[in-house]
């Protein structure tokens, strides 16, 4: 199945591409995709599939568009406790 992957901001330089079509095995999950595109898992990031945030382990489908962005804005972990 064909999945388009779009990198945002600094991830363009970290992965060496801005947008690319990947030919993936059916049933590939977003987590597996992150390994394929070789982004350090420890980097805080937002992954969206067809414009919507994904849940962990979400399965991809043919024709999907996946956008991977470094986290913008503090407030994910930090903040008043």
């Amino acid at each position: 199945m064909k999945v388009t992957v779009k990198m945002i901001g600094s991830f363009v330089y970290a992965t060496g591409f801005s947008e690319r079509i990947f030919d993936l095995a059916p049933g590939t999950t977003t987590d597996e995709l992150l390994e394929i595109v070789e982004i350090e898992k420890s980097r805080p990031m937002i992954v969206a599939r067809n414009g919507q945030a994904v849940v962990q382990g979400e399965k991809l489908e043919d024709g999907d568009r996946v956008v991977i962005a470094p986290i913008f804005s503090g407030g994910q972990a930090a903040g008043p406790h």
């Binding site: 779009k6 945002i8 901001g9 600094s10 363009v12 330089y13 970290a14 801005s18 980097r43 805080p44 937002i46 969206a48 067809n50 414009g51 919507q52 945030a53 568009r65 956008v67 962005a69 470094p70 986290i71 913008f72 804005s73 503090g74 407030g75 994910q76 972990a77 930090a78 903040g79 008043p80 406790h81």
Partner: protein, 613 residues
């Protein structure tokens, strides 16, 4: 008292006099600096209902204990006054050498009163204050004015100045400093202009009083290196804030066509990658090691420094998708001293009104050349059209009528920053409840909202998050004064700020102490509104109505057919008020005021509107 100079410089432009005043620990600890100092001073000293463009309004430059200390991103200054654009308390922050120079001159705050009869330059050097003629540069843009100042005083001084926008009382004109940025979206430039104050130049030579300067010096130097390394490792400065443009386009949150649309197939032409590729120079504020100002050549070959907000509002919102053309519009705003966000909002609204047949005109979306001419008219207030455009979206809509208020993209009179919230209830709440109008600086909740919540949800968690972020962004960073980007973009821990604060002041504050100051400031800003607008109601905390209009839903894409729900937004607003301890109008209760040590202010506010228990 360490950390504060404890001294205010009060200048009267009418009388051409000045005097030093002191303040004590109580004021310092209660209001800390920046936004806190400015707000409390305006509350105490302004007559209710005062004309924001009259001599009785006051223009304030306020600093805080961390401001100007060599540590990560401390080069910010707050400028404030009663806003001519919104009618409430207005302020903004900008990076400038004024921060360090004014502190070294011995002052934590400058209060400018009255109005000069001739264009004036205020020169401050330690104890010396001079009122100098500025007729030579009156009518000139900020670049020429800065050059004129540098030629006289060298480049080591701190400069705040205005362009033609401020001189002509354009209501969204800003204050500019060429050593950094612009600031003061709610018309702070017009307040300077109304006082015929073209520029403030500051030079200082005294040490800034600190409890433990040696430790702070070591700490600051090490942390500056660390932040720089974090930035390099993350690669953030390659695109800086403009990385967000492509993301907003992908998730349907980009301002396009006066926010009628949320995405555009040409958005890539003005995104962060294109910007980085076209970069000709990089700029930053003083004491910053993660410079975020990316300059490109504009269509006329001038350097223009872009960030996300100005590309979003002068680019995609106007459907201008040529980077050099966006650069030209941005350059003109900077030179005239107009706020880029509001200018993009105003022109987008004007094009939309023409498009909908609500006003006659030949300006169209995508017309970059036409936009340049309109910016000129707006800055100079030339003719009827110039006057219409110079008054901002809210007043334009009142004049145009015909239902145009519904798509006038502002909150409390301040134009919406570059996030299209058709399906971002939390971000819409952030814009709605921002006490100075729709400014992204108060609580930028959009990535949390899309990543960690169900996007189309209106739960208490979203209201809570907006408040948490307001405490940090609209609170801590605005009154302690520092740039929020190391924390926002690099994950630099907030805990560093109490450490700096305590090292400088000798106090022992925790983050909780800071949240209380932030809540106090937010509550007093609401009292300020009540005093100016006794018929205040919760609708002042609503985002633009077009975001609730099903006819305005996207036809395709990730949020096709969906739009905000007014009833649910009202529920979200109730959660927000409840968590803040405010009544259903959005005004702090007596109990909340007491808990925040605002009893006196609450009593004064009661003269204008009843408070609930």
């Amino acid at each position: 008292m360490f950390g504060w100079t404890g001294t205010i410089l009060r200048v009267d432009l009418t009388e051409r006099t000045f005097r030093k005043e002191t303040f004590g620990e109580e004021f310092a600890h209660k209001w800390v600096g920046g936004r806190g100092f400015a707000l409390k001073t305006l509350w105490d000293e302004l007559e209710p209902g005062v004309d924001p463009l009259g001599p009785k309004n006051k223009f304030i430059v306020a600093l805080g204990p961390i401001a100007g200390i060599p540590a990560p991103n401390t080069g910010k200054t707050v400028v404030a006054a009663k806003s001519p654009l919104t009618g409430g308390y207005g302020d903004g922050n900008l990076g400038t050498q004024v921060t360090e120079q004014l502190r070294k001159a011995g002052y934590d705050m400058l209060i400018v009163e009255g109005a000069a009869s001739e264009p004036t330059l205020l020169y401050i050097e330690d104890d010396k204050v001079e009122f100098l003629p500025a007729a030579e540069v009156w009518g000139k843009g900020t670049y020429a004015t800065n050059d004129w100042i540098y030629a006289r005083y060298g480049r080591k001084v701190g400069v705040l100045n205005i362009g033609q926008g401020g001189e002509n009382l354009n209501l969204y004109s800003t204050v500019r400093s060429l050593e950094g940025r612009s600031g003061g979206r709610p018309g702070m430039g017009a307040v300077m202009g109304s006082k015929k104050l073209k520029a403030i130049v500051v030079k200082g030579s005294k040490p800034i009083p600190q409890a433990d300067p040696k430790t702070m010096k070591k700490l600051g130097a090490a942390d500056l290196r660390t932040v720089h390394e974090m930035d390099k490792k993350s690669g953030w400065s390659k695109q800086s804030t403009t990385g967000i443009l492509a993301w907003c386009n992908e998730v349907a949150a980009l301002p396009v066509r006066n926010m009628r649309k949320t995405r555009h197939s040409d958005a890539w032409k003005i995104d962060g990658e294109r910007l980085d590729a076209a970069r000709v120079a990089t700029y930053g504020c003083p004491t910053c090691t993660m410079h975020c100002g990316i300059a490109v050549h504009d269509r006329e070959g001038r350097e223009s420094e872009l960030d996300y907000e100005n590309i979003g509002m002068l680019g995609s919102n106007l459907e201008v998708f040529e980077l050099d053309q966006v650069g030209s519009l941005n350059y003109l705003c900077d030179d005239y001293g107009l706020d880029t966000i509001s200018a993009g909002g105003v022109l987008g609204f004007y094009a939309d009104a023409i498009d909908r047949g609500h006003i006659a005109g030949d300006f169209r979306f995508g017309d970059g050349e036409g936009a340049k001419e309109l910016l000129r008219l707006a800055a100079l207030r030339e003719g009827d059209l110039g006057n219409l455009l110079a008054d901002g979206t809210m007043r334009m809509a009142r004049k145009i009528g015909r239902g145009s208020e519904a798509y006038a993209m502002h909150v409390k009179g301040l134009e919406v920053s570059a996030y299209n919230c058709k399906l971002c209830p939390g971000m819409a709440l952030s814009f709605g409840t921002s006490p100075i109008g729709a400014h992204h600086k108060e609580a930028w909740v959009i990535t949390f909202e899309l990543n960690q919540t169900v996007r189309d949800s209106y739960g208490r968690d979203k209201a809570q998050k907006v408040i948490e972020l307001q405490r940090i962004r609209g609170g801590l960073f605005e009154y302690i004064i520092a740039c929020r980007f190391p924390w926002v973009e690099l994950g630099w821990q907030l805990e560093h700020y109490p450490i700096y604060f305590n090292t400088i002041t000798g106090l022992n504050w925790t983050l909780d102490d800071f949240w209380k100051v932030g809540d106090r400031i937010y509550s007093l800003m609401k009292f300020f509104w009540l005093r100016e607008m006794p018929d205040w109601n919760r609708k002042m905390d609503y985002p633009p109505m077009v975001w609730f209009d099903p006819a305005n839903a996207d036809a395709d894409g990730p949020i096709a057919g969906k739009i905000l729900d007014l009833e649910k937004y009202d529920g979200l607003l109730d959660h927000y008020y409840d968590l803040r301890g405010w009544d259903k109008r959005g005004i702090p209760t007596r109990k909340t005021a007491a808990a925040l040590d605002l009893e006196d202010e609450a009593r004064q506010a009661e003269a204008f509107g009843r408070l609930e228990d």
